[in-house]
Symmetry: C2
Subunit: 246 residues, 2 copies
């Protein structure tokens, strides 16, 4: 048995998220169905983590074990020929049997795209959050700087979050302006459920003047989800990159 | 009765083209169904011209007549609230009853997007033609310059074209490089069936060295569709702008 690590991108529009769920189209189920078809026996896929419905991936990482005798360089083509067009395998590498796509993650990058065109852009409706309201970008940046570092992010995750330890470290928090888009970039050692979407929702309220940048500090300290902003919609979010120790 | 001129954009992915066809989803049918629902009687829509299956529009123009007493400024919102999300009304203007969206066109702009990323970009699969092969852009530009002006475009339209007069004038023919994309821009007084897609297919063959730039001249003169290149796929094409005399 060989273990293969695959870097994949997907358009989340027509998926009910990464994880298998009954009667819903998911990325994991689609990957497993293709691999099971190839192997003529069930194959399980382990992803670096879940993504929600409508959320996209530029560089999600998964692993699986295979007994097939396909050279590693041919795997990319073989999988892309069989997978539906909304999943694209970018890279396949053979890794040690100890490698684990979820447990071995050391760093993840998420990006969130906000479209600021006055009218709706029909070509972006699935790929960025349309937010045509005035925004003070300097205030947003001020608030983003307060997020860098190690914090308890209880205020910035879904109340449904089950993990106990809500302390995470954000290494980079950056605002990129590109044409009519704002891109919120977050690089950290881990992210809680809905964390990026709640951070963006809160930062947009800062940009609108509804929340002062310095309040971010207080919201973090109070560890109370009701103090932060709305959860921004899934279709603006991209799992951009997953990093490992090798 | 008032005549309204609407500028609309649409994502062509899930349309079988602009024009009504039996048992197929079309832009015209979708617009007419919405307007008929609003008016409680059949409303006919006249477009500036057809677009094929998968072809997009940034600025298609249509007109229709209405007896409804909606102020012109409210029409945009009213239509966008009722139309499916893959059609967006950008502007609605009241025009004279003589205005005709097809007959009064004086200029049209089409753009064709080619994606040159080595691997497939899952987010562009419906929005640009993936062409990862080496291209000599100077040669393409040389060939494009030969297309400017008034020519008989028989060699560059579908053999199925029914119009007799195949003489058209191209005012601007331009190649734009943007990130990993090439954008072919054509502005002319009119376009024949499949003309832009055959022009782009031929220009890509020029870029690949399969056709010499100067051969464009000969191909135009010979008036023979078999001498030009393949028809590039519909999903890279955008009806960008339609201009009128007012």
């Amino acid at each position: 048995m060989k273990r293969l690590k695959c870097t994949i991108s997907y358009d989340g529009t027509n998926f009910h998220g990464y994880q298998i769920q009954p009667n819903q189209r998911s990325v994991q189920e689609t990957l497993e169905a293709t691999l099971t078809h190839m192997h003529k026996k069930p194959v399980l896929v382990v992803g670096s983590g879940r993504t929600d419905a409508k959320v996209h991936a530029v560089g999600q990482v998964i692993h699986f074990d295979t007994s097939l005798n396909i050279p590693v360089l041919k795997w990319e083509k073989a999988l892309n020929a069989l997978l539906p067009t909304d999943i694209v395998v970018q890279r396949v590498e053979e890794v040690s049997n100890e490698f684990h796509a979820r447990f071995d993650v050391i760093k993840k990058e998420y990006r969130y795209k906000v479209s600021r065109t006055p009218g709706r852009d029909v070509f972006k409706r699935h790929y960025s959050y349309h937010y045509p309201y005035p925004l003070d970008l300097l205030k947003i940046q001020e608030a983003m700087n307060l997020l860098i570092g190690t914090h308890d992010f209880t205020s910035f995750c879904s109340a449904k979050t089950e993990v106990k330890d809500k302390i995470r470290t954000l290494y980079h928090v950056e605002l990129i302006e590109k044409d009519d888009e704002l891109i919120f970039r977050f690089v950290g050692n881990g992210f809680l459920y809905n964390m990026v979407r709640i951070l963006v929702g809160t930062l947009l309220e800062v940009g609108q003047g509804k929340t002062q940048p310095q309040e971010i500090q207080t919201i973090l300290e109070k560890q109370d989800r009701t103090l932060s902003g709305k959860t921004a919609p899934g279709h603006g979010l991209y799992l951009w990159k997953v990093s490992y120790d090798n």
